[in-house]
């Protein structure tokens, strides 16, 4: 029995409020935590079948051109090498998120330096890796490859439907009492998930089983089947544990298809792990962005106009382009608006989703521009934002579903001691260190994605939750278990959640912060159906039924569930879908960030001293995993602000810093005490749980708080991220400091 909900309107009742078990929202440990901490959780490469061979991908070493052939015989003669495979079904790029069909295939055409072009399969990993390095490629380079968005001859697209304009921004800028018109840049970022991509393919007749590290299995299954030209019913993907994704594992990637092809050809299971270097250059990058931001404001700081025009890049033909301005149309007031979006076509590693595509870089730069406006207008940055919160979505002219930006700003300022910030930059010194405070707003669009889940209540009073949804470190195991335990009145240890297997009902997959709400709603719906079945058997109305600690209670009756079930299992499937609610109201999550930094007056080094994030994302399902998501997001923000930058060689576009030694993620010493406050909120437009996504909210502007604090500490305004010491130093030198 499948029960369905389509979110066309706000939900009437907050059903979770009526439940009695009292586990939803609690900061409970992850049920999978002990397995992860003890090393017994099986990640992709941890389930090697007997007799598996290993494949290692070989890379193109030109920016554009053709692979005319490979010198296979020489490598096949090496010890242990079983095959050298170049197959037109192999992928050039990974699939974009939710593509559901094969991405661009055939490695004979080369579109970027580092593109996987061949697979060397051997009996050991070391033999395969040596073979892949030794493999001589016959490459025909194409003249005129364009490797950077600023290169001569670059093709720039201006897609009509991504441009928006209302009112007259130029006039608003002319008439503004205070204005900002600046150009900002962000560099290429890597997702840098802890677990590199890896796939193990195994065929049984015409059925393929793939153990991989992927975020969105129902889409990945369709993408893999399409790439191989087989029916998706014959494909099963297993990803019970995924060591982080941050968008890099949304779509099927080259190693999965190559593993499947090799396993089929050789008739043995084949494992294809990617090295860190290969993941950096052969999967997905976040596009660099150039953002012109214009703000027009009156004497009171109230915005009359906002312009946000972005230039991003991707390979020719790729549909994805970093949605930099996604939140700009509704974050602040201002009747005169321009949204611009241009795409440079470049021969660089495919650009795709990296944690919070759009807001991560777009809100961050908008929030730096707001800090510039605050300074120009002499208005406190918190107050400036409070004055510019709109009453409704100013672009679509629809109401907000819920909106806690003002509370997040006020509460954050209060908790952080914002009133101790000196308005004038460069006023606080601690030895060699200049100390300053900065803040920024947080905003991220909220989404619901179709999801199904099955819940089974067994006659002995245990429940099983099943969906192909993944847990990429986010806490899915914990929150789905909590929702079922709450709804069915069971202790946590009597509910088991199984994830990451395409034989299970298709969930939404992990991405866009929609996993918890979408799959949680599917679980909730299935549980509602089971509650209805219990009512039937128990002979009571739905509103009279209380389920708690494995007992059903109605009126003065209290009976163990097992007794009501009488040896029978109850099974229901929940199905959640987005609907018209998306068009009726603007749904988003909000928050605020506050940062205190020290900037070394000698060297320009910046160290974040403390940081606070205050967030509202509807009902919080697990206060511990939600907080962890926010901590991780703000850590991303520190990296974006200070250290993270992929360098592309200016001549051939290759990624120069392809490892963790030279792509500088923040290390523990870079991350100070971070405090996270989660505001109490319900959003009846979002879903019956009244919960919204929180996985990405922690990064949507966090870097701006740090960069704004650098300005407050030093008077140096960095507009090109990351704010590495050379950029700060340049400003300090200019000041004569």
């Amino acid at each position: 029995m499948t029960v369905h909900i389509r979110m066309d309107d706000r939900v009437e009742a907050d059903r979770l409020e009526d439940m009695a078990q009292g586990v939803v929202g609690k900061p409970l440990d992850r049920p999978d935590g002990a397995r992860k901490a003890s090393g017994t959780a099986a990640y992709a490469m941890d389930s090697l079948p007997d007799g598996a061979c290993f494949g290692v991908l070989a890379r193109a070493t030109i920016a554009a051109g053709r692979l005319e052939g490979v010198d296979a015989a020489a490598v096949e003669a090496l010890p242990g090498v079983r095959a050298v495979i170049v197959d037109e079904r192999m992928l050039r790029n990974p699939a974009q998120g939710m593509a559901g069909k094969a991405p661009v295939q055939d490695p004979h055409e080369i579109a970027y330096f580092g593109q996987p072009v061949a697979l060397v399969v051997a009996e050991s990993f070391e033999q395969a890796r040596h073979g892949a390095i030794a493999l001589v490629l016959r490459l025909e380079a194409r003249a005129g490859a364009v490797v950077g968005p600023d290169d001569a001859g670059v093709e720039i697209e201006t897609p009509e439907k991504k441009q928006q304009s209302s009112g007259d921004l130029d006039a608003a800028m002319r008439e503004a009492v205070f204005g900002v018109d600046q150009t900002y840049t962000t560099p290429v970022h890597a997702s840098a998930a802890m677990e590199p991509h890896a796939s193990i393919a195994q065929w049984d007749e015409d059925r393929l089983t793939l153990r991989g590290s992927y975020q969105m299995l129902r889409f990945n299954r369709a993408e893999l089947a399409d790439a191989l030209g087989i029916d998706e019913k014959n494909v099963r993907i297993l990803a019970p544990f995924v060591g982080g994704g941050f968008g890099s594992k949304l779509g099927i990637a080259p190693e999965a298809v190559a593993a499947a092809i090799a396993a089929q050809r050789l008739g043995v299971p084949v494992a294809v792990p990617m090295s860190r270097q290969q993941v950096f250059e052969g999967v997905m990058r976040r596009s660099e962005t150039t953002q012109r931001i214009r703000l027009a404001a009156g004497a009171d700081g109230r915005l009359t106009g906002i312009g946000h025009e972005a230039l991003v890049s991707n390979l020719p033909g790729e549909k994805f382009s970093e949605p930099v301005t996604q939140a700009t149309p509704f974050l602040y007031r201002g009747e005169n608006r321009v949204i611009g979006h241009r795409i440079a076509r470049v021969n660089r590693t495919c650009a795709g989703s990296v944690r919070a595509p759009g807001e991560a870089v777009g809100v961050t730069m908008l929030e730096i521009a707001m800090d510039e406006l605050a300074a120009a207008a002499g208005i406190d940055p918190v107050e400036l934002r409070l004055r510019n919160i709109p009453d409704e979505d100013p672009t679509q002219q629809i109401p907000f579903s819920s909106h806690k930006l003002a509370e997040a700003l006020r509460s954050g300022a209060d908790r952080f001691g914002w009133d101790r910030r000196r308005t004038e930059p460069g006023q606080v010194r601690d030895g060699e260190w200049l100390v300053g405070m900065g803040m920024a707003s947080a905003v991220r669009v909220n989404m619901l994605v179709e999801a199904k889940a099955r819940v089974s209540l067994s006659s002995d009073g245990h429940a099983l939750v099943e969906t192909d949804m993944t847990d990429i470190g986010t806490g899915t195991y914990a929150i789905l278990t909590q929702i079922a335990a709450e709804m069915l009145g069971l202790p946590m240890d009597r509910v088991e959640t199984r994830l990451g297997d395409t034989d299970l009902p298709p969930g939404s997959g992990s991405g866009g912060s929609f996993g918890a709400a979408s799959n949680g709603t599917a679980v909730f719906m299935a549980c509602e159906e089971i509650r209805r079945m219990i009512c039937e058997r128990f002979g009571c109305e739905a509103h009279d039924l209380t389920l708690k600690d494995g007992r059903a209670i109605a009126g003065n009756r209290s009976v163990p569930l097992a007794e009501i079930l009488g040896g029978e299992d109850l099974v229901a499937e929940g199905h959640a879908e987005p609907g018209d609610a998306e068009d009726k109201v603007r749904q988003a999550t909000y928050g605020s960030y506050f940062a205190e930094v020290g900037v070394n007056a000698v060297t320009g080094e910046t160290r974040v001293r403390r940081m606070l994030g205050v967030f509202a994302a509807g009902r919080i399902l697990n206060a511990k995993t939600a907080r962890s998501q926010c901590l991780g997001g703000m850590t991303f923000g520190i990296g974006m602000a200070l250290t993270e930058e992929i360098f592309h060689d200016p001549r051939d576009g290759h990624i120069v810093n392809r490892d963790f030694a030279e792509y500088h993620l923040p290390v523990n010493a870079d991350v100070p005490q971070i405090d996270v406050v989660l505001l109490e909120e319900r959003d009846a437009w979002a879903n019956p749980l009244q919960a919204k996504g929180i996985g990405e909210l922690g990064i949507c502007g966090a870097a701006a708080a740090v960069v704004n604090a650098i300005h407050n500490a030093t008077g140096v305004r960095v507009r090109d991220l990351p704010a590495t010491l050379d950029k700060v130093l340049e400003g300090l030198e200019r000041q004569g400091g």
């Binding site: 000698v602 010491l725 130093l729 340049e730």
Partner: protein, 325 residues
């Protein structure tokens, strides 16, 4: 990784004989193994010297310390004698790598670690250090890490060690045994080579040589510091580092020794800068003059031009710190 032979040497003679026959010596392996996996280095044979008796720190005659080549970085940094008399060396060691790596990395191996030039690490790139005669792709590329001093048109790489910078300022000497039984003692300035047109030859070691120890003379000055400037708070190579040692007697600087990391193919030292400081009263102007003298001959590559003001400012700060009462 290419197949290779692996032998555990039971004696120094064993190790030198195998190395003389072309084997590469492995101690901690913290750099070598990574490079072998990438096939940046592809030795046909490894000789493991971890069983040799080179793991002690002994007091040398006339003051100073003799540090065995196999003394682990962690142990050296924690040694009471080092911390008391050569605090700058302990600081430099602890500023490098991570706890796990320092537990494994050795004194001799640290001296011989290879550059972190991005182009050296990518076997698809021309690199004279990796493949003599193939060219230098770093020139004209991304040069954030690269050298200000002593580079050539064939190589602009820097030496990544922190420890070696401190050792150079402390006038340490490298003890080298050769196959013919001769023991040489070389100051670091004579041990390392500039790239010239042979950047693949980084030291004066010849096959069959074995570093057996590093000798520290009695400390020249009580005032010591090692200051490392980098792109994040930990686990990053120096953009610029300054190792400084001096004393102040009767209000005047005496016996200053300064070495610089992240700016040259070897830990850099400039005798003119030291001569300029010797015997002078500390002052802001003096420090500015010393810093200006140091960077006067810097030859930036574009992406590393910021290192000039950074080095100038860092040196001045180090001199201020060392001369403050």
């Amino acid at each position: 990784m290419r197949p290779f032979e692996f032998t555990r040497a039971e004696s120094a003679a064993d190790a030198m004989r195998l190395a003389g026959d072309g084997a590469t010596i492995i101690a901690g392996g913290t750099n070598l193994l990574d490079l072998m996996k990438l096939e940046v280095m592809a030795p046909q044979a490894l000789v493991d010297i971890n069983r040799l008796d080179l793991g002690d720190i002994d007091e040398a005659e006339g003051g100073g310390l003799r540090i065995g080549a196999l003394v682990r970085n962690s142990d050296l940094a924690a040694d009471r004698r080092v911390r008391d008399a050569y605090p700058m060396l302990a600081e430099a060691l602890l500023a490098g790598a991570s706890g796990q790596l320092r537990n494994k990395a050795t004194t001799g191996g640290n001296l011989l670690q290879r550059t972190r030039c991005y182009y050296y690490y990518d076997t698809a790139m021309p690199c004279n250090k990796r493949e003599p005669g193939s060219g230098c792709q770093a020139i004209g590329g991304i040069t954030r890490l690269h050298a200000l001093f002593g580079a050539s048109e064939h190589c602009i790489a820097t030496h990544p060690s922190d420890m070696a910078v401190a050792l150079r300022a402390l006038d340490a000497r490298v003890e080298i045994q050769s196959q013919d039984g001769v023991t040489r003692m070389l100051p670091l300035g004579d041990f390392y080579r500039l790239p010239g047109d042979t950047p693949h030859i980084e030291t004066v070691l010849v096959p069959g040589d074995l570093i057996t120890a590093v000798l520290l003379p009695a400390p020249a000055g009580a005032r010591q510091t090692y200051r490392k400037v980098r792109d994040r708070a930990s686990y990053a190579f120096a953009l610029v580092s300054v190792a400084g040692v001096l004393d102040v007697e009767d209000g005047r600087i005496v016996r200053p020794a300064l070495a610089f990391g992240g700016v040259g193919h070897m830990p850099w030292r400039n005798p003119e800068v030291e001569a300029l400081l010797e015997g002078e009263a500390p002052s802001v102007d003096l420090f500015a003059e010393a810093a200006a003298r140091l960077v006067a001959e810097a030859e930036p590559q574009g992406g590393n031009a910021f290192k000039i003001p950074l080095l100038r400012r860092t040196l001045q700060a180090v001199l201020r710190e060392l001369t403050e009462a």
